[in-house]
Subunit: 328 residues, 2 copies
């Protein structure tokens, strides 16, 4: 019996989820829910049903885990609790400051329906968070750092696009090599926001637009760019389409600690990701978490969980015996 | 109420454990058990009791978790099940091929006593195993690699010391840069044993010993060296003591996978350790696992566990709420 997956939301993440389900032999895609016209979708999975978001209730016995592929700002705060009453669910809610309230809302909903929810799955929050937890638990006396990139930040790209005279833009977050070296030195240095990352902007300007004004508006923009060393390069729409169409990302979680007599021994833990496709990788994590949600629910564990609460073996298609024999 | 820790076995790992307990404010060291004369031990923790290994039974109500710091060959196969009847226990059993039978024996013992055991905790098996599991679960279509070093292998150093005419020796396992580069390429290359690691031997020979015979015996030794490119350097006892007295180690778990349409996107996951002291880092993992054993037992979860079975939050001194608020 395969785990029957539903996908709610069919943007980049939803499509990545469809590919992820296809890679996992213990899963099958049951349906895709969309707020657009369902007949206009062209799924890659042969024969999969496409339904309008409102048809949810008919699916309660047909889907083991609903994977919510909407956005954290507008979709998930309402959608995840709503679906968690009827389905085991997984989401990638990534507004770090609002995770506690999202957790509470989803926990209440999932418990009321006897369902299991996994929230904030992906890589940050997600695998990066898990590595922060492990490294801090193992090396309590030390300093930890998270670096992001090199990768495309959708939010920063959008912020540039809102500037008058900008037709399109792509922003890369880039970890500074000097800061990476300092973090890896094991000396637990203090690193400022400006020291850790730089921002590279590729901008398509409208014909005749004042490029120096645009550049000034970018580099002085509070919250987004003012705290960083930012470079702006104006390129053509063709160059943007050709060289900057992908969604690469990645980064590093680094922790250095001291152990032993007077803390004389330096111990370094580092976790890194280098991703050609941010949404497809996030979807790959969601798939493993969907497996965990399904299994935990069958074991009678209900309510809201994060990667912090899931026994790692639940994420794997292999049994506990196989895992101990082959990869422990 | 602090978690009361006992340490059984006071070699490099046991002493590392003593330092690790001192770094964790929610733990206190209750006693050290030794097979030597207890009065001959000089613990670093003020006022800690030292007891002979036979006095175990008196401690059943006095120790929350007994951390077993003996060796995998001679000590743990008998010791861990024996202690698991009376105490929550943690060990670093690292004979990979025998983990399944060790698990079964410890599971029976722990369940019979209503106790919780965590076996094979450390970094490999341990954190490396956990990263192999996570990377395979997230990227099922891909290739995984584990590299060890640069670090001292005790077993290989001992094998050299048994050669006639050798007074002392230190062997380093070194990952080959070309193999690391290939693993990181994302092309899932086949890498042979010889390609992945080289072995560097520092040997102190007896005066007048036949050095070319010693070197030949090392590089042709089956299982230990014959399958590797091995270099041998003869040095003085003083140089060995001065430059090779430490126990550094480390390594990398690397997995590259393909996602998306036709597998066109490459995704790389890498976990790495760089350790000045192998035993102190292993002990740091044992301390986090001791916390988990204690908590799981209080929740009524008994029997044998590995890092694959432990919800990661159990390893951390912080509460679930704190973890969600601060590092998720």
């Amino acid at each position: 019996m395969k785990i029957r997956i539903g996908i709610a939301g069919y943007g980049n993440l939803g499509r990545g989820m469809e590919y992820a389900v296809a890679q996992n032999p213990d899963m099958e895609l049951r349906c895709i829910l969309t707020r657009r016209d369902p007949s206009a979708l062209t799924p890659i999975t042969p024969g999969v049903e496409t339904l309008s978001a409102g048809e949810t209730r008919w699916l309660a016995g047909e889907v083991d885990v609903m994977v919510l592929c909407g956005g954290s700002a507008a979709d998930l705060p309402a959608q995840t609790p709503e679906f968690a009453r009827l389905f085991n669910v997984v989401d990638s809610f990534d507004t770090h400051a609002k995770i506690p309230e999202h957790f509470e809302a989803v926990d209440r909903a999932a418990k009321s329906g006897g369902k299991t929810a996994v929230i904030s799955a992906g890589w940050d929050p997600g695998l990066f968070s898990l590595n922060r937890l492990l490294a801090e638990a193992v090396l309590p006396r030390g300093g930890g750092y998270t670096f992001w990139g090199k990768g495309v930040s959708q939010g920063h790209s959008d912020a540039i696009r809102r500037i008058d005279g900008v037709l399109d833009a792509r922003q890369y977050t880039v970890p500074a090599q000097s800061a990476l070296d300092a973090a890896r030195s094991g000396q637990s240095p203090d690193l400022s926001v400006r020291q850790k990352h730089t921002r590279e902007c590729y901008v398509v300007a409208a014909e005749g637009a004042d490029r120096s004004r645009i550049e000034r508006e970018i580099v002085t923009m509070p919250h987004y760019f003012a705290e960083y060393d930012t470079t702006v390069r104006f390129i053509s729409a063709e160059e943007l389409a050709q060289n900057h169409a992908g969604m690469p990302h990645g980064g590093f979680v680094i922790r250095g600690g001291k152990t032993g007599d007077g803390g004389r021994h330096s111990q370094m833990i580092e976790f890194g990701l280098r991703l050609d496709s941010n949404p497809e990788f996030t979807a790959s994590v969601l798939a493993a978490c969907a497996r965990a949600a399904y299994r935990l629910n069958r074991e009678g564990v209900t309510g809201c969980k994060t990667l912090f609460d899931i026994p790692p073996a639940c994420l794997s298609a292999q049994s506990g015996e196989e895992l101990r024999r082959t990869i422990l």
